[in-house]
Amino acid sequence: MSMKYVDEYRDADIGQVLAGEILAAVEPGRHYKVMEVCGGHTHSIYKYGVDDLLPENVELVHGPGCPVCVIPMGRVDDGIAVAREDNVIFTCFGDMMRIPGSESTLQDAKAQGADIRMVYSPLDALRIAKSEPDRQVVFYAIGFETTAPSTALTLKRAKAEGIKNFSVMCSHVTIVPPLRALLESPDLRLDGFVGPGHVCTVVGARPFEFIPADYGKPVVVSGFEPVDILQSILMILRQIQDGRCEVENQYKRIVPYEGSTAALKVMEEVFELRAHFEWRGLGFISQSGLKLSEAYADFDTEQRYEVPHVRVADPKACQCGEVLKGVIKPWECKVFGTACTPERPIGTCMVSSEGACAAYYNYGRFAREREVV
């Protein structure tokens, strides 16, 4: 297994060239705020130190695209309640384990005896269901359009194979409604968007046309390597420089403009839109969440078990919502780094390594002016 094919997108020399072009594309007196929508971008930016290569007046704002961070407390409580049911094997991605519910986490529930297992894909959960036919296996599905197709395909397979002891607790969400909600927010000041490349492999670039059309902001769909991100930022700055405003696709090697017809078709078959879904920090957003369609209702965990559905308000001190909107930087939150740390998180942005706060705490604390001596 070799990752040779990505090397050119991590080349430091190309990075320096792009950094130079970015410097040439900005007006010295002007401040630029660019939002990277996807948590995967946030992670890459910190991992590779991409922001070190940007001029002082180009600021990156971390957007709402971390799938773990947007899950509200009540939804975590619902998961814990199901995990504690008799005979249940509860499966989820590793990042979900430490997200705080109103009283505890899935990790705590596991230590107290619930059978909770970390998986890397919904197919792993289906495999567990097949090997333990006497148990009920629940998969806690989260994520944007990136992960929804694999949940959908797993459900299709479960249905085709007639597997009765498998169900999905669906917390999938879609990316366009929260972006629209953000753009409607009066305190938001952004100059452009680095578009979510992984989501776009499924939905394509077309659904983002409303951003330049209705809100006058450029969008560049971007890959996840550091060179991709720098190039996308440059493309946004060039649009501003040229007075253009459109959706451009930096990630053409993967993303077709129309997306993946096959993935969209299977999603349409397996899911339907919820009327409302609650987002951590952003509140209820209409038509932003997915649930299982009528045809797959038998596989819906929420139909099989009594789920509390108690709404829990976000903790008062936590400003995850403003961080998600890009209104404040993580360190501007009242509890950042003191009461809220990666080992004892209050807000979800501090839990996942893709969360804006955890990424800043882990990687970004070292302020860029400060030298190592």
Binding site: M3, R10, A12, G49, D124, Y361, Y363, R365, V372
Partner: protein, 364 residues
């Protein structure tokens, strides 16, 4: 932001608070043990610094070396103990028996002690096939011979089915401290070079793949091996200019660097591009979303050496079989104390913090 000095001040102040919090001894506050307490990161540190060290309060234990120093009538000994709970019992490159010997002799070696003898405790699960046990006993005998130690005492217990994953193994070891060694976790000085004895992340990755939970196929073998020959070579080349040694087991190289940056109140900078990682390990870790710097090794050490002795130490290390890929990966600095920073291959800088949570299954 350059145009907002008040805001910048606030950021600096908050960063200061975080740094101060990091430097304090960790507390043990959780209501129950979770898997994170076994992962070698912050929770493990809290368990050790917050519960165990204060309870047994003595200077030898508080020094937090891999093995404790004991003096008997002028003879300088080192003692250590370790338990092994890995699943599966056998994996590419080794087995629980190899780990049980190498893990303990390596802890002695990291204290600058030549391993002399081990004791062995076996906790066996009802129903364990005798052939599986026989294979591990043979592996233990072979590993002990390779490491030049004798198993001088032992114990066996059997527990009901379902109470152990086949078998758990505990070994304790005694060694004689080498007079050439002057090693201490708080001995690091700015300017010291940071060496690793070979490519990293192999053991943890091999175990994850051997568990068969991922649809990944890659030829990655555990690096389990005894490290005394490497330590012997380093002591011969650098003597007292060898400041400290750590084997990068649970929590990986990142955890070793963070632990010693805190213990010596120094900063460290690691050149990411110089860190040796096999392409198969890098590929598997990338797919699993794990940084190889945090992945366990069972036959790799990190050595901190005074700059004037670093070249000779590296040469000596490379002459030891299994350490041919030894590399200088970075330097000890002064400021910011307690922090490990990475110069990324892409040209940026970031913090490499301690591990939080439990990203990995039981690996040793």
């Amino acid at each position: 932001m350059a145009d907002q000095p008040a805001v910048a001040d606030r950021e600096t102040r908050i960063l200061g608070i975080i740094e101060k919090t990091r430097a304090k001894p960790s507390k043990f506050r959780e209501k129950q043990i979770t898997m994170a307490h076994g992962a070698g990161g912050k929770a493990t540190q809290g368990l050790i610094e917050g519960l165990l060290v204060p309870a047994f309060d003595n200077p030898t234990l508080s020094a937090m070396a891999d093995a404790g120093a004991v003096e008997v009538d002028g003879v300088e000994l080192a003692m250590t103990t370790d338990s092994f709970v890995v699943r599966p019992l056998r994996f590419p490159g080794g087995s629980i028996g190899d780990l049980a010997v190498n893990g303990t002799v390596n802890d002695l070696a990291m204290a600058g002690a030549r391993p002399l003898a081990l004791t062995l405790s076996l906790v066996l699960e009802e129903g364990l096939p005798s052939d599986a046990l026989r294979a591990e006993v043979e592996a233990i005998a072979a590993a002990a011979e390779a490491a030049d130690v004798e198993i001088v005492a032992g114990d066996t217990k059997v527990v009901e089915r379902g109470h152990a994953d086949g078998m758990y193994v505990c070994t304790s070891g005694v060694g004689q401290r080498d007079p050439r060694a002057a090693l201490a976790p708080d001995a690091l000085e700015p300017g010291d070079r940071i060496l690793v004895s070979g490519s990293i992340g192999e053991h943890g990755t091999a175990i994850m793949l051997a568990r068969g939970e991922f649809d990944l196929d890659a030829e990655i073998e555990s690096d389990t091996r005894p490290l005394w020959p490497a330590v012997d070579g380093l002591l011969e080349a650098a003597g007292p200019q060898l400041r400290c040694l750590r084997d990068a087991t649970r929590g990986g190289v990142a955890s070793v660097l963070n632990e010693l940056a805190r213990a010596s109140r120094v900063a460290m900078i690691v050149n990411e591009g110089n860190v040796p990682v096999q392409p198969a390990v890098a590929g598997a870790c990338e797919l699993l979303g794990i940084d190889p710097m945090y992945v366990a090794n069972e036959g790799k050490l990190v050595a901190f050496v005074a700059p004037e002795a670093a070249d000779e130490a590296l040469e000596a290390l490379r002459a030891v079989p299994g350490c041919e890929r030894a590399t200088d990966i970075g330097e000890v600095k002064t400021d910011p104390p307690g922090m490990v920073l990475v110069q990324t291959a892409f040209g940026g800088k970031r913090v490499m913090d301690q591990l939080v949570g439990d990203p990995l299954p039981r690996i040793c």
